[in-house]
């Protein structure tokens, strides 16, 4: 990993994320077109091309909807409630102070009543951002650890990571939906296709099936890779913001030692969290399918700063 920048400059990170967003949209447009074609072919031979604009339209609509309402959806799904004024004064102070250091307006603060320590940030830009922490995080961490976690989450906000993650999550969801649709029509629409008969038809069908199976996996891998990489960057810029990497490292250690899973988190929202909330057992190929980099690696990088 390159040495962390000498100064936390969210402007550079924002510019980099703008390119990343464009690249992601381009890649997903390709994936969705291919998938749309495949689903169309499965549905009715020769109907592939007609399905491409429909697939792109569907993802365009869902991406737009998530851009404006995705944060509210995620917060509602996580059963987060907004902090009342005067409640948790220390937490609010930490959020406000660190926001000033980062040059962003303080985000809205939400609490999830769950003893598993964790946190996430969401929204479309710093002006429309929210940060949610579990009550377990507030109870189990001391001030410098809490500052480390909040600084990490605020970096996600300042860097516009929250927008990238919101977008990627929805696009992956759309890909999964489309592929599901294709597989289903495969089973229900079997009779119609038998009339085709020609060899090329069969070949296209097999190709379409392979595409329908592969694209969701590719989409998922892209999402996870983006998510893992974002975590390292947010750790680095968060540590730079507090000027105290041991605080964040110590928080990571505590969270790693905590075996409790966060009930309100699911596969779709897991990558948003500070640390993997699912605490699922390790499997083969885990590295590739992880939403987060291994905590030991994150701690090692923080201690090297």
């Amino acid at each position: 990993m390159a040495a962390p920048p000498s100064r936390l400059n969210i402007y550079d990170a924002v510019a980099a994320n703008r390119w990343r967003t464009v690249a992601l949209i381009t890649v997903f447009t390709g994936l969705l077109s291919a998938l749309g074609f495949a689903v169309g072919e499965i549905f009715a031979p020769g109907g592939g091309l007609a399905m491409v604009p429909a697939a792109l339209g569907l993802s365009g609509v869902s991406a737009t909807a998530s851009y404006f309402a995705g944060d509210k959806l995620v917060l509602a799904q996580s059963q987060a409630r907004e902090l009342a004024p005067g409640e948790e004064a220390q937490l609010r102070n930490i959020v406000e102070t660190l926001s000033i250091g980062l040059g962003i307006p303080p985000p809205r603060i939400y609490v999830i009543d769950d003893t598993a320590p964790n946190a996430f940030a969401t929204g479309r830009d710093p002006k429309h951002a929210s940060i949610a922490v579990t009550s377990g995080l507030i109870d189990k961490l001391d001030r410098s650890e809490l500052e480390g976690v909040i600084a990490h989450e605020l970096s996600h906000v300042g860097n516009h990571d929250i927008r990238v993650m919101l977008l990627v999550t929805v696009l992956v969801g759309t890909v999964a939906l489309l592929s599901d649709w294709g597989m289903r029509s495969m089973f229900w629409g079997r009779g119609r296709r038998d009339r085709g008969g020609a060899n090329t038809g069969a070949l296209i069908l097999i190709l379409a099936l392979v595409l329908a199976i592969l694209t969701p996996i590719i989409a998922q891998l892209i999402r996870l890779a983006v998510s893992r990489q974002r975590e390292f960057l947010a750790d680095a810029s968060g540590a730079l913001l507090t000027r105290y990497p041991p605080g964040l490292a110590s928080a990571l250690r505590k969270i790693a030692a905590d075996k409790e899973a966060l009930e309100v988190a699911n596969k779709a929202t897991a990558s948003l969290y500070f640390a993997n909330p699912l605490k699922d057992a390790p499997r083969a190929m885990d590295g590739l399918f992880d939403t987060h980099p291994p905590i030991a690696e994150r701690i090692r990088r923080l201690e090297a700063m």
């Binding site: 100064r7 102070n93 406000e96 000033i100 980062l102 040059g103």
Partner: protein, 187 residues
């Protein structure tokens, strides 16, 4: 054909200059926005002071000198905000910070005072505000550094010279970590 080449070259130069100029304006704008952040927090600190002084007065009325020093430092800081440069302002705010520290050190000697909720709230509020000042200052100084570096390095320094971009001043406030060692005077 040659005219065309000349025109293209001139066009490219114009685009280049415009780009550099806009970058400098953006950087300067960031410095000004960051300055507004500091300003808000410094004003919040002023607003806390009268109440704090009144509360302490109720229990330690004879520490008149300390109160006067804080009140004077506050009005000096407010005056510096009206007219002064960041440097003068930082000096006045530094003096205010020192006077406040002295006030809090004096207050330490009155256990009854420490027990009142109002004093505790004010104290916490003041600490939080001073934290915010420290972070706002850091953000401001970072932006000043980016801007000053840009107007002193090639090629933006040429544009800066042509259009009169001048360096901005850093806001040097005593580090809060240093303030943790109280300088109490018993004179």
């Amino acid at each position: 054909m040659e005219i065309l080449i000349v025109l293209v070259v001139i066009g490219l130069i114009i685009v280049f200059v415009v780009g550099l100029y806009n970058r400098l304006v953006t950087l300067r704008q960031r410095v000004r926005e960051a300055w507004a952040d500091i300003d808000v927090q410094l004003k919040r600190r002023w607003d806390l002071i009268p109440n704090l002084v009144e509360t302490v007065k109720g229990y330690a009325a004879h520490e008149r000198q300390t109160f006067e020093a804080v009140t004077k430092a506050r009005s000096d800081a407010m005056a510096a905000a009206q007219t002064g440069s960041p440097e003068q302002r930082a000096q006045a705010e530094n003096a205010l910070g020192a006077a406040l520290l002295n006030l809090r050190a004096v207050a330490e000697a009155y256990p009854q005072l420490q027990a009142i909720q109002e004093f505790k709230d004010l104290s916490e509020n003041l600490t939080a505000t001073e934290d915010k000042i420290a972070f706002a200052r850091r953000f401001y100084n970072g932006n000043v550094r980016d801007y000053n570096t840009a107007i002193q390095t090639v090629p933006t320094n040429i544009i800066a010279g042509m259009f009169g971009f001048t360096p901005e001043q850093y806001f040097e406030l005593t580090d809060p970590a240093q303030r943790e060692v109280p300088k109490v005077s018993f004179s």
